[in-house]
């Protein structure tokens, strides 16, 4: 069948934006999250209070950031094992700069300095991966240990106190209802959506993830794209670390130890393509909500918290299995 004029006049967003903005998959996630929420509010009357929502929405916002750090790398076809380790380094640096007994800088001076860690580590990873042609897995695996050793050595395992003057970011909110964290992450989500759907850079990042050889032979500087993805990833990690420190009131070097599994779980449940080229900010938000709800479930059901990793691992696998089945089905139908 040839394309006729009437058929081509209509569609505004084809191309990369076509898949998974609010696709069937995301819709499924929304329904699943909704069902969980209903079940939860029936099981526990304290669930739907404004206090719970205020605190839980901050968790969701935080998970979204951590997952974004993984998703931008997955979208170019790499993975990033340093998501937590970079967060950890950033936390220790923030502590050293801001804690009263240490440098004692004010937040407006310390935070921008710490923010530099994201792009710097990202550049480093990106350069090693593209110039020395070493697999991202190996590079980020080794760098993860490099960072973890550094933060333990520097901090000696002790937490730094975050002065109360900086608590507002993680703990405050607009009118006591809308946490600043949620606000900031909403802007990030919008930015990421815009980037990947509407800009050349974002589309090229996705093209690189889709087929790096074809992208390169179509005139895309794929090395630059990979570096760019790692820089973005680092920025999200650091942002998450700063928010977490402000929220918890101290800069603990252990921050980030559990981020890796979170980053994969939320990103994958949220529909990020494991082999690149697919990223859905809305899906990631839904993934983060589902993730939080499941944790909540564990609490309500009084399941030993120590089992949560088992569940997470199983959940990642399940999400992938379901996606594979869908993919096969869609390819057949066409």
């Amino acid at each position: 069948m040839n394309l006729t004029a009437t058929e081509t006049a209509a569609p505004p967003h084809e191309g990369f934006g076509r898949r998974d903005w609010v696709s069937g998959r995301t819709l499924g996630l929304i329904l699943f999250a909704g069902a969980l929420m209903v079940a939860m509010s029936l099981a526990s009357p304290s669930f739907l209070t404004s206090e719970t929502l205020f605190s839980q929405s901050r968790y969701v916002a935080f998970y979204v950031l951590v997952a974004m750090a993984q998703a931008v790398c997955l979208a170019v076809g790499d993975l990033n094992l340093t998501v937590g380790a970079v967060g950890s380094i950033a936390t220790v640096c923030l502590g050293m700069l801001i804690a009263p007994g240490q440098a004692g800088l004010p937040a407006w001076a310390a935070v921008p300095i710490v923010m530099l860690i994201g792009p710097l580590t990202g550049l480093l990873h990106g350069f090693v991966i593209t110039r020395l042609k070493i697999d991202a897995f190996i590079v980020t695996l080794s760098m993860m240990f490099v960072y973890m050793g550094m933060r333990s050595g520097v901090s000696g395992g002790n937490s730094y106190i975050v002065p109360e003057s900086f608590w507002w970011l993680g703990q405050g909110g607009v009118g006591g209802l809308l946490p600043y964290m949620v606000l900031i992450v909403a802007v990030v989500i919008w930015g990421v959506s815009y980037l990947y759907r509407n800009t050349v850079l974002g589309r090229r990042l996705l093209a690189t993830g889709s087929n790096a050889d074809a992208a390169r032979l179509s005139g895309i500087n794929t090395k630059r794209m990979i570096i760019c993805a790692h820089v973005l990833s680092g920025c999200f990690s650091v942002l998450a670390a700063i928010m977490w420190a402000s929220w918890s009131g101290n800069a603990a070097p252990q921050t980030g130890d559990d981020w890796l599994i979170i980053s994969f779980a939320v990103a994958i449940i949220g529909g990020t393509g494991l082999k690149g080229s697919l990223i859905s900010p809305i899906g990631i938000v839904m993934g983060a909500i589902i993730f939080k709800l499941i944790q909540h479930c564990l609490v309500i059901l009084r399941i030993n918290d120590n089992f949560s990793n088992t569940l997470l691992g199983a959940l990642i696998l399940l999400a992938i299995v379901v996606d594979r089945a869908r993919e096969r089905f869609e390819r057949k139908s066409g």
């Binding site: 069948m1 040839n2 394309l3 058929e7 081509t8 569609p11 505004p12 967003h13 084809e14 191309g15 990369f16 076509r18 815009y194 509407n198 800009t199 050349v200 850079l201 589309r203 090229r204 093209a207 889709s210 087929n211 050889d213 074809a214 992208a215 390169r216 032979l217 179509s218 005139g219 895309i220 500087n221 080229s277 390819r331 066409g334």
Partner: protein, 501 residues
Amino acid sequence: MLELQGVSKFFPGVRALDGVSLEFRAGEIHGLIGENGAGKSTAIKMMTGIHQPDEGRILFDGAPVTLASYRESLAMGIGIVHQELHVFPDASVAENIMIDKLITRRFGGVDWPVVRREAKKHMDRVGLDVEPDRLVRGLSAAQKQLIQIAKALSAEVKVLLLDEPASSLTEHEARRLFALLRELRKEGAALILVSHKLEEIFALCDRVSVLRDGRFVGTRETSRLTTLKLVEMMIDRECNDDHLGVLSPDWNTEVLRAERIVRQGKARGVSFSLHQGEILGFYGLVGSGRTELARILIGEDAMDSGRIVIRGVDARIRNVGESLYRHRMGYVTENRKEEGLMLDDGVQTNLTLPVWPRIRHWLTRRIDPGAEAAAATRWVESMRIKTPRLSQRVGNLSGGNQQKVSIGKWLAADCDILIVDEPTVGVDVGAKQQIHQLIWDLAARGGRSVILISSDLPELVRMVNRLLVFRQQRIVGEVRDIDTERKSYADVSREIAPHFE
């Protein structure tokens, strides 16, 4: 011994084999010949259990068999020696030969003395005269080829498929290989030689079967066949012999000139020029330096020395982006699935990828969705790409339509120098015609300059006005005025034959 009866195989959008019947006898060397995309490799895969026929059946010793995997076909006694050298470079010769049948002692340890002795036996049979313990790394191509043959023979095969076995050998080595094959024939094996070199077929085969566009043309005894007759069987007279027309290039406008381009192992001092509105053919076998040169021209590979001049200006091209955006030169790759397309993405994305920077808003950086859809629609319509919608996954299109998308990308990007590498491999006949016409029109009507890389000589004869012959990373010959003097396939083959001696 081995027989295919009315076998067909379909792939999405392509009928790779269509009711093919072949019969191979014990004690003969049987040639299987056809152009690129004729269905040879599908037939081989069918006989070695990699593909299963969608229609028809396979008979072995007169009984119908199902070959579900290569293991099964090997157990049946059907072995294959591939064109590429599939060896383990860091294992010894003996290990390579005996890899799937290492003899063990009690407790599962390998009995190396026995393995070595067994391996030596097979090595002697093929005349491979090296130490069995020697590492394969560092052996010559011919020796590696012999290892593969020894390995196949060690499985006591009754049918041995050889896929272009001499393509990586020198002439002397090839002669020795052929002597070995004759020896094996005497021992009663059925040997199937897949080749597109006619000399090989005539030198070696008792009978030859010809495939064309997935269909069986015929089986003949080589002793009653002439080269000309065989060529006629291979190529479709009606659609291959006539020129698409006479091109009128502007010989005074040189759009691209390469001067003594050198790159280790890829190009050994190559010079040529391309003119406005010209279709210049690059003819040669795989590895002769055609694709290698193209990749240097577009900046995918760096050159060690040499000069590229585009429209009179010295061009230093470091990557494909510079070739595309600075010099409007595009390269349509020969591996469209691996390197040309993003198969999981839509037609529109694949077509408009290089256009994006031109249609974005200067401040918001937003790609204009209307302009993007319009660009895609324009090329879908003008190239007659058959797709139900612009967002259709390119992987679901037929081979011919995929190739059109792969070419269309560069047209959308406004390239007026186009290097097209093996554009009709794996596309069906109808689409082949359309793609030929399309490329020809680009030069004849669009005034673009095209380099057409092909190992399909009839294809080149149909379309180009000038042809460069590549051999061993050099240009060794040139055929001019193919369209103006209406040279036939036979004329051109005669002209280039001396370059291959």
